[in-house]
């Protein structure tokens, strides 16, 4: 049978997560903080490396609150760097490991960053330090105590917005600590847990798992992504992991590539957190059958308001179309366009309130005022609540496409395509993924001035945008459907 949950270690006062982490090194120095297939780092070593790296970062920054870019694949060093930036009083800005240089430069400029720690070479207009070299040493000056307070900014996370310009979501240390508390409370994570984590730390979901680890003090089996989904499961089974975090696309890939082998984890996997996109009904049923004793927890949330709601599918088998109820310590409501609360059953905009709601959109005060009203965040998602307090999504505002849990703004891809010499004009929209893996994918419609093969356009995009943004369906058209004002009619593509 599954191990009993021993003792919740989340019943603690809210403080910056890095301060909690420092406490873990004193309380259980030999417990493993991070495991990888290549080795393991105990909490004592993990925190010593954070202290050493933080001292270096502190010397490199002029003031507290300055932004530090972090770029690399999942590794103990990236996790060290993240908390070291916090300990040094800086603000962490995580970049996709494979972000094109132009994208990194745009973020560096917008964030007015002063320093970057990268696993690969990036041409940026300020010092770029080698991530591994800075974060693996325990020798040298060590920062005695974290130089941050709860109200200080901690993370600046860039997400795709409904305009071509990315939005920087500014989160405080209090936001991060509250979010971790709520998540740990729902999942029931405890210090004895060993959690498989293949999601990129550069994205909200994966980063959230790292923050939860900092608060509760369990062990993360940090994996380098889902490129080889069968390997993720093999490592999970070999380690007899008790926790797992996956986006729906990852879960579908594992199920399809390994048949029913996920069921081999039924005697040790205590929780599975899923999020960032909807799960196909057949996948839900399959996972419930394969893992009858595991808490199958699906979250609803945004970068702006981490994990606002949760549902556990075993407990709510008859409500599997719902996104669940508000997370512990979170309030949700459905409002009309004037901001008035709507009664149960009536559709409107979902709004959320809680300690995890962001501070602001970076340098976009008007946008911030538009979405933050009296501490409540307008999600842009439409839905309703039933009489039992369960929420249901009915639609999403804007043109964003959710590709396997990652948001893509079609305009960004169109701009790059329009720069190709053979392309007169392009239009992109989200369609249902024909392979049934990523939920949605991008379709591109092209008006061409000369012949060009799909592979040539894919090659053009590969050096300019991330892989998941590349359209999977291509169509040549004579003209693009537009409104009278010239706006692309994406629903007609």
């Amino acid at each position: 049978m599954l191990p009993e949950k021993l003792k919740s270690e989340t019943d603690q006062p809210i403080e910056p997560l890095v301060a909690t982490l420092f406490g873990h090194a004193e309380a259980f120095p030999d417990r493993l903080a991070v495991r990888t297939p290549a080795g393991a780092v105990a909490y004592s070593t993990f925190v010593r490396r954070i202290r050493t790296t933080a001292a270096k970062i502190r010397r490199a920054l002029s003031n507290r609150g300055e932004r530090v870019l972090l770029c690399g694949p999942n590794s103990p060093e990236l996790a060290v760097a993240y908390f070291a930036v916090h300990a040094a009083g800086g603000v962490a800005v995580l970049l996709d490991a494979d972000i094109p240089t132009a994208g990194a430069r745009w973020i560096a400029e917008d964030a007015e960053a002063r320093l970057a720690l990268c696993a690969r070479e990036l041409d940026l207009p300020f010092p770029v330090a080698n991530l591994a070299a800075w974060c693996i040493t325990e020798e040298g000056e060590q920062l005695a105590a974290p130089q941050c307070a709860l109200a200080d900014p901690a993370d600046l996370i860039y997400t795709s917005g409904t305009t071509a310009r990315k939005k920087g979501v500014l989160l405080s240390h209090a936001n991060l600590a509250h979010a971790a508390l709520n998540i740990n409370a729902f999942l029931g994570t405890c210090g004895d847990d060993l959690e498989c984590m293949p999601l990129p730390l550069s994205h909200s979901f994966g980063l959230g798992r790292l923050r939860c680890m900092a608060q509760v003090g369990h062990t993360l089996l940090l994996q380098t992504g889902l490129r080889n989904p069968a390997l993720v499961l093999k490592q999970l089974l070999a380690a007899r992991a008790t926790g797992l975090a996956l986006v729906p696309a990852g879960l579908d890939l594992i199920l399809r590539m390994t048949k029913d082998r996920l069921g081999d984890a039924r005697e040790h996997l205590r929780y599975l957190e899923i999020g960032s996109a909807a799960l196909r009904p057949e996948t839900k049923r399959k996972v419930l059958d394969l893992l009858p004793h595991t808490r199958i927890c699906h979250h609803y949330g945004l970068t702006e308001a981490s994990r606002a709601a949760f549902i556990e599918y075993h407990a709510d088998r008859d409500r599997m179309a719902s996104i669940g109820r508000p997370s512990p310590n979170v309030e949700m409501a459905v409002r009309d366009e004037q901001g008035g609360d709507l009664p149960d059953g009536q559709e409107g905009e979902i709004v959320v309130h809680g300690g995890m709601v962001m501070q602001q959109y970076w340098k976009q005060p008007e946008l911030t005022r538009d979405v933050l009203r009296g501490g409540w965040l307008r999600t842009g998602d439409r839905g309703y609540r039933d009489a039992d307090g369960y929420y249901y999504l009915t639609g999403r505002h804007g043109d964003l496409v959710n590709v396997g849990g990652r948001k893509v703004n079609p305009e960004e891809v169109e701009q790059v395509l329009n720069g190709h010499p053979a392309v007169v004009e392009s239009a992109c929209a989200g369609i249902s993924d024909p392979q049934g893996i990523t939920g949605e994918c991008l379709k591109a419609c092209l008006v061409l001035r000369s012949e060009v093969r799909d592979e040539q356009l894919i090659d053009w995009l590969r050096s300019r945008v991330e892989e998941y943004k590349i359209p999977r369906i291509w169509q040549r058209v004579d003209q693009i459907a537009k409104t009278a004002s010239g706006k692309i009619q994406r629903h007609l593509l």
């Binding site: 889902l226 390997l231 392979q435 090659d459």
Partner: protein
Amino acid sequence: MQDNVATAFRKAMRLQESFALADPMSFDDVPGWDSVGHMSLVTELESRFGISLDMDEIVGLDSVGAVRTLVARKTQV
């Protein structure tokens, strides 16, 4: 058969004909070899060569050479 492996890669990863595949190449060396590309590759190999791959075999598909070796072994049986 070896050319068919290259064709399977090109189709799964949506590569140009001019892209030269070499045995030592792994995930980082082949554009498009992400999780979706990996799934497409497995599907392509199974349908193209009429083989069925189990979890351990799929785990081992971490380089072009490993794919060639596995396909050669499975199609000899």
